[in-house]
Amino acid sequence: MQMKLQRVFIALTALLISSVARADWTLNMPRGVTDISQEIYGLHMLTLWVCVVIGVLVFGVMFYSMFKHRKSKGAVSANFHESTKVELAWTLIPAAVIFVIGVKATYTLADMYNFEESEVTLEVVGYQWRWRYRYIDENAEQEVSFFSSMSTPRDEINNRLEKNENYLLEVDEPVVLPTGTKVRFLLSSADVIHSWWVPALAVKKDAIPGIVNEAWTIINEEGTYRGQCTELCGKDHGFMPVVVEAVSPEEFEAWLAEKEQAAIELAELNDREWTFDELMERGEEVYSSACASCHQQNGSGVPGAFPALANSPIALGAAEGHLDVVVNGVRGTAMAAYGNQLSDADMAAVITYERNAWGNDVGDMVTPIDVYNFKAGE
């Protein structure tokens, strides 16, 4: 018994030490990298110190009474139980303190609500459970728009792999923003309410279906800033991080041009010839980012909630039926219409993959042309 307890204790200590080694004991709000985030930090500290001072005074009196005025020390209770003057004092003094905090906060609030002209507009749309970013740029030949999904492997979440440094806070494609530039965010949602939050920018705004919300930021320092969805949005609410890369305006322009070029190339991908193996390879990637959170990496689904794809009649049936489900979604279920979320090439790849993975062996392949034709109504 003694031995066993000892062993448990050692194991627990080891566990504690190992976690201490890999994490920091952060206590306070980050100052952030925008003027607003620093103003907010100042407000936070001001209110905190006001609370600390009031706390020390009030609890000081209280603990003094608890030590000095205890019966065991022979204290005899006094008889006073009313004083309008005192009541008035402790109504008015806190009111004055609160007034000071309130005025300062109102000024910060006004700054945050200053939506005057911005140079870059970024549309942010929440999906269960990833973000779509679109740069609104009238001069662009091809619109830059992409999904950003968490890239942490499921094996790390399920403790089969060592967790990496940016566990749960990494995405396949971060959103890139220029420093020193006023960026305006237009936030909305394609399903339930999400909330887009990057602590370092002090930007948190709800993404609500049918409503476009606004926020803005000017980032002062280059760097990678990580955040998360902060409004409960269903099963994988904990797994939809936000990663912002802030770069110099020149780098940003170059990046945007490159993305435009890539978008044009992606459109060309749809026309090119694909081999079965290429489709399978690309399909696995697309599946991991768009499908695996519900249907699971191994296609087993979640009984009662999300159907299995391995050995499913749809994946093993005619290609048209399979295309219909993935492109158009299934009404009245959680299956979204991916026709608007995936390019034709990605759609072809993921369907080919689903038909030929995890023991499914239809053997056929669906090409981007097939997808294009299907969408065009054959």
Binding site: G210, E214, G329, R331
Partner: protein, 188 residues
Amino acid sequence: MSDADNARPSHTRIIVKMVFVVFGMLAFVFVGLVPMYNLICEWTGITGRTNEASLVQDYVVDENRDIKVQFLANTNADMPWEFRPMVKTLTAKPGEVVEVSYFAKNATPRDMTAQAIPSLSPFEVTPYFHKTECFCFNQQPLLAGEDVEMALVFQIDPDLPAWVQTISLSYTLYDVSSEQKSAALTLQ
């Protein structure tokens, strides 16, 4: 007990009053809070929704001011239609009548009906943004494989606050083919 009861005021009066408050509050939620919310949204433009057609106004066009208007299109996650603005951005002068259009295509093998929900930002422009014609005023049915160009005609009030230089008009397209849709989801 009984004589003590006689000496006391009646409980019935209190119960009646309280039950009155209970039903009053219940009614207040439906006929008070909901219309109040809608009214406040309409007056201030919060949520940026414009649901009613206005008549073409006789504004003097303000030639000295250029307002950038961005057109955005989104589809709800379960809506398979293709949906995009024909023009993504344009510059409009306050007072002038502008006509643009959105493209929609139902590529599914089913006949469907859609509803577009508009939202303007910044929301403060909503009372100054007059749509004389909009596809969002009505539901839009499309047969399987059909496509359509849908018109939007609007006018910006010259009284638009001076700080506004850019207006973003966003539409989200919803599938409203079956009224029973959400019920089906719950009862499936």
